[in-house]
């Protein structure tokens, strides 16, 4: 999967906006949206929030976790624990990028938030590599990927599955026999 596809999925997450226009409920394949009333907060998918924001039709209310104090706590926790801690959103990375890019004027301390999320990400990626290596070293058969997000798995996914595939085949070398007499010329 490509990062653009992970981001596409993230755009279905809901965020709260405060519209400055009024519109009746609209019915779409993906579900109903609205109704929209000026000054009245309403939950919409991120793709719509960004679209409205770009056209200056709304103000965005950042998700609760997109807050310096909360993110500091998350970062510290992540650094303290050996395992992956649960993230506030399965799309924390994508949402941070999208919302900070399109609505940074509605998000207090945007730059600090960007840095905190990036620090957390870096810590998690370092852990991911460490655990991938120990997984390979100990020749484990399965691994728990609890609390890892799609984007994180994505950056190393192809590499890791290919490597594990190679390792599996090199391990079948250890059991001679059955298939040994192949006829490839």
């Amino acid at each position: 999967m490509e990062p653009a596809e992970a981001e596409f999925l993230a755009e279905k997450e809901l965020v709260t906006i405060v519209p400055n226009f009024s519109l009746d409920r609209i019915h779409l394949i993906g579900g109903d949206l609205g109704p929209f009333n000026p000054g009245l907060p309403v939950e919409v998918p991120v793709w719509l929030a960004i679209n409205l924001k770009q056209r200056q039709k709304c103000r965005l209310i950042p998700p609760e976790w997109m807050d310096v104090e909360k993110l500091e706590e998350i970062r510290d926790q992540e650094r303290k624990e050996d395992t992956f801690t649960p993230m506030p959103s399965p799309y924390y990375m994508e949402l941070t990028k999208l919302l900070l890019n399109y609505a940074s004027d509605n998000i207090p301390k945007a730059d600090e938030i960007r840095t905190l999320v990036k620090d957390t990400w870096d810590t998690r990626i370092a852990k991911l590599r460490l655990s991938a290596d120990s997984f390979v070293k100990q020749q484990e058969a399965h691994a728990k990927l609890d609390n890892l997000t799609l984007m994180e798995i994505n950056t190393i996914g192809t590499f890791l599955t290919q490597a594990l595939d190679h390792m599996y085949k090199l391990r079948t070398n250890l059991q001679p026999g059955e298939s040994a007499h192949s006829q490839d010329f």
């Binding site: 950056t155 590499f159 085949k169 010329f185």
Partner: protein, 214 residues
Amino acid sequence: MSEAYFPVGPGLGPEENFLSLDDILMSQEKLPGRAESALPRLAFALGQGAGADSGDSIPEGSKLEIPLWLAKGLHDSKRRIISMELPKIYKEAWRTVFSADANVVDLHKMGPYYYGFGSQLLNFDNPENPEIAQTILQTFINRFRRIMDSSQNAYNEDTSALVARLDELERALFRAGQKGLNDFQCWEKGQASQITASSLVQNYGKRKFTDMDG
């Protein structure tokens, strides 16, 4: 990199992939052997050059160098007409080097199909087979970390020094790691949604100009 071209990958392990270009080139690599009986009319065919008095025949006990595909085809565990030996990198002395520190070995120079070729050597009923198989696997495991880290860290830099000592399988793995990294960085910079020209097309564009120059 082209996004729609997916070549047939190498088989690795006991089976080759019949249609894999990588496996064909891998099985083109030579290994040492010996004629256990006289082989009439084969000296020229095997590129041994005719001996002074033996005509086109290979005398018993002659040393041979033949490609893996041929060694596999001629191998017969019941009637041993030629016997195959291990290339030195799979022998005990080198296995010791690998177990001491697999990362120091230049697998490109010694291979370049260390894993694939080594796996295929197990076809020849060598008594050392279990140790060879174990060494190959352990080498991969021990070199894994360095390949992962270098492929996931090297952004926007010349990677030729990083891959110089990797065997072909490791290089493909390195490329996969680089793609993961580059795709992510591209996304972070906000370029992931950009539609780009096909690399296939770009190649032809360049090609056309160089053709005109030449």
